[in-house]
């Protein structure tokens, strides 16, 4: 079971306000997080991924403790097996789609990769650089890379903003499939509450800071 308890003073409009969050996820849970702008949704994901130092935190992926401020444990970002997809698809401009995948996981199973590429509609763009991809294609590639990195916890920050309805449903069903197949817990941040309600097994609305 993934366990998350974090506290952090966040700067909101020039003032420091305390942000706290506590929740847990089972192996095939999809936890939806929503809330008003600036309530700390993205910061929460970054705290879990280890990209922001917490004031207090206990984060465990079930198998091992990733962060425990009390015990002085802070697992390095690249060793946490926590993949995060950013809101603005932070891809690598010097790499084609195929090079992205090889960079992230050189040994990823080829037939599985072909299936994923086909499934995400990226099979014809495998030699294309990010600047030639549409917003939706970039978002799908970012999600594909996160899946290819073989994480034990997947964090998605507003993953549907650049997707049309059809692609969004496709990505959602792929995510659902991965959750069931790999028993991969997912934390999904979005302001689209209706989608979260339909897709997530658990939904938390964060209060304004």
């Amino acid at each position: 079971m993934v366990e998350i308890r974090v506290e952090k003073y966040l700067e909101v409009g020039g003032a420091k306000k305390q942000f706290s969050f506590a929740s847990s996820l089972e192996k095939n849970d999809i936890l939806g997080i929503t809330g008003p702008s600036g309530c700390g949704k993205t910061s929460l994901l970054k705290l879990i991924a280890g990209l922001i130092d917490p004031d207090f935190a206990y984060i465990s992926n079930g198998a091992e403790i990733l962060t425990s401020t009390k015990e002085g444990i802070d697992c390095p970002i690249d060793k946490r097996s926590v993949a995060m997809v950013f809101q603005d698809q932070a891809l690598f401009p010097n790499m084609t789609i195929e090079e992205h995948i090889r960079f992230v996981n050189r040994g990823f199973e080829k037939t599985e990769l072909e299936r994923l590429l086909l499934r995400l509609g990226l099979d014809k763009q495998r030699n294309t650089y990010p600047d030639k991809l549409s917003g939706g294609q970039k978002q799908r590639l970012a999600i594909l890379l996160a899946l290819v990195s073989d994480p034990q916890l997947l964090l998605l920050d507003e993953p549907f903003t650049a997707l049309d309805d059809e692609t969004r449903d496709d990505v959602l069903s792929l995510l659902k499939e991965c959750v069931e197949l790999k028993r991969l817990p997912v934390i999904l941040v979005s302001h689209q509450t209706a989608i979260l309600q339909q897709f997530c097994t658990k939904l938390i609305k964060l209060p304004a800071l």
């Binding site: 991924a49 690249d78 926590v82 995060m84 890379l145 073989d150």
Partner: protein, 223 residues
Amino acid sequence: MDWSPFLLSFKLALLCALVLLLIGIPLAYVLSFVHWRGKRVVQALIALPMVLPPTVLGFYFILVFSPQSSVGTFLNSYFDLQLVFSFSGLLLGSIIYSLPFMVQPIQNAFEQLPNDMLQFARVLGKPKWAIFKKIILPNSIKGIATGLVLSFAHTLGEFGLVLMIGGNIPDETRVASIAIYESVELMQMEQANQYALILLLISFVVLVFIYSLGNNSKRVVRW
């Protein structure tokens, strides 16, 4: 025409640019990505040659490395090395003098890389060294090329520092800019003109190269 001042200038500029590349990349990395105390002081020290007259740098260089100084005596007796009025001294002086021209473009390139991009690579499980090699360096190639060309051109054109620490020794420290100065002093205007014209052309080509790296023409917006 005597080409030896140009050959010496090119040798000096090339060696200086290559050494600076080796020093500049790690230095720019440390300045861009690592938080440490005293960083601003080091940054100011690196940038000093941009605002100081070269004669100030030359003066301190002589003060520190002259055979009468303790450092000069030490280098001379233990390494048989004399830095004042020698090519090695010229190289060391040029490295210090052109350091900001290498470090700053690379540092700017590093700092312009989106944080999200580097963090995304980290959360995908990649170690910092792999990210540096496969993402940071390839995406900063324009900054690195600019640093390389600028430090080469800057060394090629330096005069005050060379005159102070190198003097005018043929095949040792008599670089192109010194040769122009000497030709004018000897009223050999035609030779000075030839040297000057070549330096002017090289500098112009270098600048055209740097500006084409920026690819500014594509950024023009209709309005």
